[in-house]
């Protein structure tokens, strides 16, 4: 019974992720011609990690756009991109990771592939998950600003050397479809494909390894989880401390300890798992909760 309900809620989430990925990458023509869309919509960023150079992409990737602006001589702050990130972060936090990121969906689906010994928690996972803040700081912000050529322009180093989403969505399709681009393929393309391949294999064994360890966009949104308007709540009066919520969480969060943990991607599995419906999520706190708090403290 509970299993069936699980399947239903997860199916709903996959379909929302898929729908969003399809809408924001609907330049179908691009996949046939090997050309990217360059119209007005590209001025805006999508909330998730979605490569600008995906032939289907209608919008820009916020992490790519951030590096492009910071890497340009004379530009020190990207008001527009940071504004978009703050908007989504302040509204929903890592709901974007769980519901609106095509590369998150890609890893979700890969993890459904059976494997003899799936690893639930990586060794030293608590430390590994901090790496993404380092990636954000160094590859997305510091290097594009300061590792510049003689003209003062920096490359988007995260896109160039690391991002497997870019390889999957932009690099591989363009190289396959564009013979002139194929002639430029060298060690960098091989390196990026190696990262993609490792991400794919790891995703089968570990749940969302890229999101947990490397994603600079997840790092940004994670900082908003505690302050976003959308919040997860555990009603401690109905909680029977059965531990089922923590058991079903693939991001290894214990909602009872911290319902808005940095690693929570707000997939909602814990809500389905809770036998007493003690876990809820909503925008802004209800006034009745405030009154209740007051009575308790008095």
């Amino acid at each position: 019974m509970a299993k069936q309900k699980f399947r239903q809620t997860e199916k709903f989430r996959y379909s929302m992720q898929g729908l969003w990925a399809a809408i924001t990458n609907s330049n179908v023509d691009g996949f046939f011609k090997g050309k990217i869309y360059t119209g007005q919509l590209k001025n805006a960023c999508v909330p998730g990690l979605n490569c600008y150079s995906c032939p289907g992409a209608l919008g820009s990737c916020p992490i790519g756009a951030l590096q492009a602006v910071l890497g340009k001589k004379g530009h020190w702050f990207s008001f527009y991109v940071i504004g978009i990130l703050m908007l989504f972060g302040a509204l929903v936090g890592r709901v974007v990771c769980g519901w609106m990121c095509p590369f998150g969906l890609f890893q979700d689906l890969l993890h459904k592939i059976p494997f003899p010994k799936k690893i639930r928690t990586m060794p030293k996972e608590k430390i590994l998950v901090k790496i993404k803040y380092f990636i954000l700081l160094v590859f997305v912000i510091i290097l594009p600003m300061f590792w510049v050529n003689f003209l003062g322009n920096g490359d988007p180093y995260f896109c160039k050397y690391l991002c497997p989403a870019g390889t999957l969505e932009g690099g591989v399709p363009l190289v396959l479809l564009n013979p002139v681009m194929r002639a430029t393929v060298g060690w960098l393309f091989a390196w990026k494909n190696l990262i993609l391949l490792m991400t794919i294999i790891l995703s089968i064994i570990v749940y969302r390894p890229f999101c947990k360890v490397l994603c600079p966009l997840g790092a940004i949104y994670s900082l908003f989880n505690k302050v976003s308007l959308y919040q997860y709540r555990v009603d401690m009066d109905s909680c029977i401390a059965c531990g089922r919520c923590a058991k079903v969480c693939f991001m290894n969060v214990d909602p009872v300890k911290d319902a808005n943990h940095l690693e929570c991607i707000r997939c909602g599995k814990c809500k389905t798992a809770c036998p007493t419906k003690a876990i809820s999520s909503d925008f802004v706190q209800k006034t009745s909760d405030f009154e209740f708090e007051e009575i308790k403290t008095m």
Binding site: K35, I36, T38, N149, F150, L151, N153, N178, P179, V180, M181, A183, T184
Partner: protein, 111 residues
């Protein structure tokens, strides 16, 4: 942009071969914003003692280039009649690589 100093030198070294390199700026449509880019480019050419020409393309030429390839730097070869030779090359290359490519493309035109 990063290969411009080498191309500027190469343009001079090719003198006897009847090959000229022309830089086409696609960031600024002629007139609009071209001034600041010209300021950036001029010292590079002066430094190499180069007579290489940089042109600021008008919209039609920019659109033509992007309709073929959407990435830069993109290098096209054109014969004396203005016909395209080959499909062109993407990406910055070393001077040595360009010399090899130019020899190859040049032989195509001679035939």
């Amino acid at each position: 942009m990063s290969e411009l100093p080498q191309l500027a030198e190469l343009n001079e070294e090719l003198g006897d071969k009847d090959v000229k390199i022309i830089g086409i700026n696609v960031d600024a449509i002629a007139g609009d914003g071209a001034g600041s880019i010209a300021e950036m480019v001029k010292p590079i050419l002066d430094n190499a003692n180069s007579t290489m020409k940089i042109i600021f393309a008008e919209e039609n030429l920019v659109n033509f280039i992007f309709s073929r390839q959407q990435a830069v730097p993109y290098t096209l070869f054109v014969d004396s009649e203005g016909n395209l030779v080959g499909d062109g090359y993407l990406g910055a290359k070393s001077k040595e690589d360009w010399i090899d490519i130019i020899n190859e493309e040049y032989s195509k035109v001679e035939q």
